[in-house]
């Protein structure tokens, strides 16, 4: 494009073309935050599972609180470097995940300090919901289905009582983070 005058028809075509170009195009590597959260969460779950089996001290569960502290700054950095534009859908997705993260911290904090709640069930339910909403917002049904599948399976955490429930958590992290992460990366690459 140059700094030249255009006729009225060209103006309308140009406006339509530019709007089409920006609509619903995923940034390359959109799945990276999902993959980071997914693989690190799986590693955390396995390490805590091993520690609980070895020592039987419930306090190892407190390690979960370190997860957002470690990952949030890294995810924010990845997100900032990756995005060459911000769309309205990006903003909505960002707030879905911020709110989900805060809600999980509140639920886990309450469980620890005041009322006994099934924090594992609530956490996975909320993570599945956030993944499903992300999939719906970016119009990738397979991501939404992975999130909904996570939500459907999450009540299984209510029946498993010992440390083996962490193995269920590993499977759910793969379902709601790792699988959608790879799908988003693939779709963003092929959409360019």
């Amino acid at each position: 494009m140059e700094d030249r005058k255009i006729n009225e028809k060209e103006s309308l075509e140009l406006i339509a073309q530019m709007i089409r170009n920006t609509r619903n195009k995923l940034a390359v590597g959109s799945g990276r935050p999902f993959l980071l959260f997914g693989y690190v969460s799986v590693a955390f779950a396995l390490v805590i599972w091993l520690l609980l089996r070895a020592t039987d001290a419930w306090q190892w569960n407190l390690l979960w609180f370190a997860l957002p502290l470690i990952l949030w700054p890294v995810v924010i950095r990845i997100y900032k470097n990756m995005m060459d534009k911000t769309t309205y859908v990006d903003r909505i997705i960002k707030y879905i995940w911020i709110l989900t993260g805060f809600t999980i911290i509140i639920v886990c904090g309450f469980t620890l300090l005041f009322v006994q709640m099934e924090s594992l069930f609530f956490s996975v339910l909320l993570l599945g919901m956030a993944t499903a909403l992300t999939g719906l917002a970016v119009r990738i049904p397979s991501v939404a289905i992975a999130g909904i599948a996570g939500m459907v399976i999450s009540p299984a955490a209510l029946w498993l009582q010992d440390e083996n429930r962490l193995l269920l958590l590993v499977a759910l992290f793969v379902l709601v983070f790792v699988v959608p992460g790879h799908i988003l990366n693939y779709k963003s690459k092929t959409a360019q």
């Binding site: 700094d3 009225e8 140009l14």
Partner: protein
């Protein structure tokens, strides 16, 4: 009756920039350059003109260690764009008219 077209927007590159920024929250300089296919120098001049008119906001920031220029359309820019499209309609013969 033909309405007058805003001369600031009635240019290929400036209209391209405005149309692009209208459909996103913000976009960086490199992305706008890729989408418009303009040269960096020309794009910089046109962005400066739109900014001086109050149609877009420019934020100088960093992506990692690289400097990054973020552009965002202002409410004034949206209004000017709407008026431009409205004026444009007066030039287009619609079938039902």
């Amino acid at each position: 009756m033909f309405k007058e077209l805003n001369p600031l927007l009635h240019s290929e590159l400036r209209l391209g920039i405005m149309s692009l920024l209208l459909s996103v929250e913000d976009a960086d300089f490199v992305y706008i350059r890729e989408q418009t296919g303009a040269t960096a120098g020309n794009l910089s001049v046109q962005i400066d003109k739109l900014s001086k008119a109050g149609y877009i906001e420019i934020e100088k920031t960093y992506k990692g260690k690289m400097p990054c220029t973020l552009c965002k359309i202002t409410p004034e820019g949206v209004k000017a764009f709407e008026q431009y499209v409205d004026a444009l309609k007066s030039y287009i013969p619609f079938k039902d008219e």
